[in-house]
Symmetry: C2
Subunit: 332 residues, 2 copies
């Protein structure tokens, strides 16, 4: 308890900037458009991201669970995987995930490239293997050509696959939210109500964990500092990676960019609405019960964090050839 209160007060540090201050002083920074992007790699990665042939069933692609039409999530509490298996945890958005200090709720992947190998071979997600995925790609003439063009090599390997997907994901940043416009000096980009929500967000201490470009994503924090979080989910959080007891129930703080789109909330997807999530955060992380009016103001502010969604033509995938191993949607 003592430790928890200590954490809660550490958390309250650094919230002196007021809403009227110059953007540079704000705890939230403007999102920059993706830079230094290899366009050939992005184009290939985009195809792979949308290609269900990287799954055993031929039915599930990255976009199935991180739907770019829906904020880069599936908007269900826990994901549906191969054979309709129920996943253990909520699918986080891929939007702005390049800004994360590490990938997954418990940070077990260092970066996007390392992450991208996971779901393909996860029996509960795409249910395939790296060897089989590469075998499929190698029999698709359109891919063989494009991999050769991009990598200048004759053989496709899984490193190339994950590198391309990661490069595509780097483009999935969402600049130009109304909040960023305000940060950049467009003072009428936010309403008075939204601005009041931002002030509350700062003064209540939310910015201690949700700050920076992604408004989160840059630290692991305990879920349930002041009051424990009750959940049926079994994820141990950061402790599953470090093995340290102190890290139990620590999760990567989710980005609040586009949080209007990434319902339901929390690692177990148990909170259906932003109002609910804000209420829980106030009570469990800060020991603060917001009035309905305060809650609504914070929610109004959070909705100003929705940025420009990635805009690109639906990729057209190269067809399989006669020798491409066929998907196994119903085999044991």
């Amino acid at each position: 308890m003592r430790l928890q209160i200590l954490v809660a007060s550490i958390v309250a540090v650094g919230i002196s900037a007021s809403a009227a201050a110059a953007p540079a002083d704000e705890p939230i920074q403007v999102i920059k458009p993706a830079a230094n992007i290899n366009l050939g790699l992005v184009d290939l990665g985009k195809k792979l991201y949308f290609d269900p042939r990287l799954s055993k069933s031929g039915f599930i692609s990255c976009n199935s669970c991180h739907n770019l039409s829906m904020g880069g999530t599936d908007n269900i509490p826990t994901s549906i995987g191969d054979k309709w298996q129920q996943g253990p945890i909520n699918s986080p958005t891929v939007l702005n995930s390049s800004l994360n200090l590490a990938q997954f709720w418990d940070g077990r992947a260092a970066d996007l490239k390392e992450q991208a190998g996971g779901p393909i071979a996860n029996p509960g997600e795409m249910g395939f293997s790296h060897t089989l995925a590469v075998q499929v790609l190698e029999t698709i003439p359109g891919y063989v050509r494009e991999f050769r063009q991009v990598f200048g090599k004759d053989k496709i390997d899984i490193d190339q696959v994950t590198l391309a997907i990661a490069e595509f994901e780097k483009t999935l940043v969402t600049p130009n939210s109304r909040f960023d416009q305000w940060l950049l000096g467009k003072t009428d980009a936010l309403s008075e109500n939204e601005l009041a929500g931002y002030t509350l967000f700062k003064e209540s201490g939310c910015v201690a964990c949700h700050n920076g470009e992604a408004v989160g994503g840059n630290s692991f924090q305990k879920m349930g500092i002041v009051e424990p979080y009750k959940t049926k989910a079994t994820a141990g959080g950061r402790a599953d990676v470090t093995g340290k007891d102190a890290d139990r129930f620590n999760f990567k703080v989710p980005t609040l960019r586009n949080v209007e789109l990434t319902y339901p909330y929390f690692h177990d997807g148990a909170a259906n609405t932003l109002a609910e999530a804000v209420d829980i955060m106030g009570r469990l992380q800060l020991g603060k019960k917001f009035t309905d009016a305060e809650n609504a103001k914070i929610v109004a502010f959070l909705k100003t964090l929705t940025g420009d969604q990635p805009s690109f033509a639906l990729p057209i995938l190269p067809p399989s050839s006669d020798t491409t191993p066929r998907p196994q949607p119903f085999s044991k």
Copy 2:
């Protein structure tokens, strides 16, 4: 048997045009780009086509089984529906489906609008109901606004939903295939081998059933005229609609436009490759066993029927609100 041979010879009628003839005389016509399209309706229909919230699980959209990245099909023998149920029949392409004389393999829907209501309420596909789908849409402010704009009415109903989807589908035509370029006079658009394949396709009698703009889609024909087709699938074909014994195992002749992309083939999805499908067609429909060289020529011709795939930005869907009924992916 006598009847079957009779049918086979009827089928051989009208194949006098030679490959060198003027385009106007050819049994296959150029695909025209979609005309008289209501753009507001198309844009709304596109969103609905990609929206998994029209399914019970929140996971399956029209695009799941008619993936516009993959020739408007799912490229698996029979579809995966709600809760991973195995469907009874192969998912036909939605590309150029506006050219069909009727919809579904057995033609039980008169047109695209009538068709579009089916999958939403089919327990084996999207597993939802029209009432529930409309209820979901009515709680999504972005949709409420857009439906009002497009239809000028205050209430959303299922007729508007299916009308919009059908209008979007009308845009899914694929002009500009190399074959159409050839038809339009670009004589070097086809190789000698491909042209020889076309000649074979005409002279063997394939064009009796596969003709017109869509190279199919304009008649019901018996599968297995000369020799019966063996399948584990239980579809009765057109007889399921008319109740007439004579219509047993009659199916709508599939379009051969983009057939390179719509593997596997036949209503049961049992033929993995075009070579296999062509071989079966020759033997079962025409009593003709093609040599490997002939088969390869026809396949080469068929691949010239791949047209420009629909090109548009991935639609961004309006977010659910706090009152939107949540998907039920795992409930009984």
